[in-house]
Amino acid sequence: MVRENSIVVEKLVREFKKGPRAVDGIDLYVAPGEIYGFLGPNGAGKSTTVLMLTTLLPPTAGSARVGGYDVRTEGPKVRSVIGAALQEAALDPLLTGRDHLKLQAMLQAIPKAERRARQEELLERVGLTDAADRKVRGYSGGMKRRLDLALALVHRPSILFLDEPTTGLDPQSRTALWEEVGRLAREDGVTVFLTTQYLEEADVLADRVGIIDGGKIVAEGTPTALKDEIGRPSIHVMPCREEDRPRIADLMKGYGEPLGSDRDLAVRLHEGIGLVDVVRAMDAEGVVVDDIELRAPTLDDVFLAKTGRTLEGAAAGEDGASAR
C-alpha cells in the first residue's frame, strides 16, 4: 500500500492584517521518514509555515494535510500525530526536566503505568538523566534544546516539526542534535520538517531542501541536485589593494558571470575555464591579491542564483521583517 505523503501543502497562504503575505502560495510534499530542510533567512516565512502546519495559525488560503489530516478542519487529529519544538525552547525555568516530561505525558494522555518509563527513556535518549531533577533555568542552551526535543517526542509522533532547532547552539551541541534527529528519521521512521537558516545544517541533515524567500519557495530538491543545478564552481578573489578592485573585476568578467558578493570579487566560471586560467591572467596583468579561492557550488550559491542575494546578506537585511 502506498502511504499518503506525511505533509502535503498546496497554494498555502498566510496574510497578516498589517503586513505583507508572510507565506505566499507555497506547494510542498514531504514523504514519510524523510528529513525536509526548509531553508531561508529571517522573515522568509519559515516559522509562519510551521505554525500553520502545526495547527497553531489558521491559513488565509490554500490547503495543507499533515499525516493525512487537514490542518484547517482536523486540528486535534493533526496534533495527535505531530510533535513540535518551536523557535526558542519554550520551557518553564522553574520546573525541572522531569517535571516538564511528567506534565507533557499527563497532557498527552500517556497511561499512568507507562509515564515513568517513558520519561526515563526520553531523558536517557537526550542525555539529560543526570540533570533531570535540576530546574531548567540552570540548563545550557543545548540542554534546553534537547529537553525541548524530548518533550516533542513524548507521545511518539510520526511527524516532527523543528523550528530552527540549533540556532544559538555551540558546534558540539549542534552536532549532537543533528545526530539525534538523523537517528529519529533513520531508526524510528519519523518524518522531520526542519526549518533552518544554516546552510550546513540543511546540507548535512536534509534529504531534500526547500528554499523559501519572501514567502515563496524559490528552489526545491536534494542538496546535491540543487548544487548540480548551479553546476560550475566559482572563484572568489580578495584584492590586496582596494584601488585594484575595479581592474580585477574587469579582468574576472572575461572568465565568468559576476556574482553579487559583498566582501570579495566573485565569478561563476564559464564552461571549460579553471582556476589556473584566472591566476595566469592576473599574473600577466601584475595584479596582487590577498586570497584566491575556488569553491564548489553550495546551497548559498543556489540561494544566490535564485534570489540574487546571499543567504547571509538576506538574513542581515531582513531582521526587521522577522520581528513581524
Binding site: 518553564d92 494522555a109 518533550l151
Partner: protein, 259 residues
C-alpha cells in the same frame, strides 16, 4: 486520545502551585504585606474604635478582613504575570500543541490560584487567632470564610488571566496592579461606611463593590451571621467569578488560534 478533563486540570493546577512555591518573590508578598499593613493600621488607627457606632472594640478584628482582599489582588497579579510569561516564552504554544482543552487550561490556572488563595486565607486566620481575634461566627464561619476566599481568588485569578490573555505582557499586568489597589483604598477598609463623614468618599465607598467584599468577611469575624452582608458579599463574588471567567474564556478563544 485525549486525557480526561480532570487529569488536565489537575496537571496544570499542580504546575501553577509548584511555580508559586518555587518563587519566594511571588509566594511571600501576598502573605507578608497584608499582615504588615494590618499590624501598622491596627497600631495607628486603634483610636477609631472609640468612635460612637464603631462595630467592635478590637481594630485588629475589624481590619483582619482587608488581608483577604489584598491577598486576592495579589492573586490577580500572580495569575496574570504567570500566564503572560507563558505566552511570551512560547510555553502557551507548547500547551496548545497538546490535546489540552482551552477550558482545562483556564481551569487549571484558576484552580492553582484558588488553592493558594485558600492557603493564604488559612494564614490570615492563623495570624488573627494569634493576635487574639475571636471569630464571632465560630468554626462554621471560618469554613464559610475559606469558601469565600476560594471564590474571590477564583474571581480575581480569572481577571488576571483575562488581562494576560488580552495583553500577553507581564509588564502590563504589573502596571495595572496599582489601579486595582485604588479600589481597595476607596473602600470601607479602614472605616465603617456609616462613619465615613466626607460625602464624596462615602459615596465612592458605597458604590465600590470591594467595600461589600470586605464587609462580608468582616461580618463573619466581628458580627456573627449577618445575612445581608453575606448575601451582598457572595453575590458580588459570584458575579466577579462569572464575569471574569467569561471574559477570560473569550480572551482565550481569541489568543488560542489553533484549528
Amino acid at each position: 486520545m485525549s486525557s480526561p478533563l480532570l487529569t488536565q486540570v489537575g496537571a496544570l493546577a499542580q504546575r501553577s502551585i509548584m511555580r508559586t512555591a518555587r518563587q519566594p518573590a511571588s509566594a511571600i508578598p501576598p502573605l507578608i504585606f497584608p499582615v504588615a499593613l494590618l499590624l501598622m493600621n491596627s497600631g495607628g488607627l486603634r483610636a477609631s474604635t472609640q468612635l460612637p457606632g464603631f462595630p467592635t472594640d478590637s481594630f485588629v478584628a475589624f481590619a483582619l478582613a482587608v488581608p483577604f482582599i489584598q491577598g486576592a489582588l495579589f492573586s490577580t497579579m500572580n495569575a496574570g504575570t504567570d500566564l503572560a510569561r507563558d505566552i511570551q516564552t512560547g510555553f502557551f504554544s507548547r500547551l496548545s500543541l497538546t490535546p489540552v482543552r482551552g477550558s482545562a487550561l483556564l481551569a487549571g490556572q484558576i484552580t492553582g490560584i484558588v488553592v493558594l488563595g485558600v492557603l493564604q486565607a488559612v494564614f490570615y486566620i492563623a495570624v488573627g487567632l494569634l493576635l487574639g481575634v475571636r471569630f464571632e461566627s465560630g468554626v462554621a464561619g471560618v469554613a464559610v470564610l475559606l469558601v469565600y476566599a476560594a471564590l474571590i481568588a477564583a474571581g480575581f485569578g480569572a481577571l488576571g488571566s483575562f488581562l494576560a490573555l488580552r495583553t500577553g505582557s507581564g509588564e502590563s499586568i504589573q502596571s495595572l496592579f496599582p489601579a486595582l489597589f485604588v479600589f481597595l483604598f476607596i473602600s470601607s477598609m479602614n472605616t465603617p461606611r456609616n462613619l465615613i463623614a466626607v460625602p464624596w468618599f462615602h459615596f465612592l465607598a458605597s458604590i465600590n463593590p470591594v467595600s461589600y467584599l470586605i464587609e462580608c468577611v468582616r461580618s463573619l469575624i466581628i458580627t456573627g451571621w449577618d445575612a445581608e452582608a453575606l448575601a451582598l458579599g457572595f453575590s458580588i463574588a459570584i458575579a466577579l467569578v462569572v464575569v471574569s471567567v467569561s471574559a477570560a474564556t473569550w480572551a482565550l478563544s481569541r489568543r488560542m488560534e489553533r484549528t
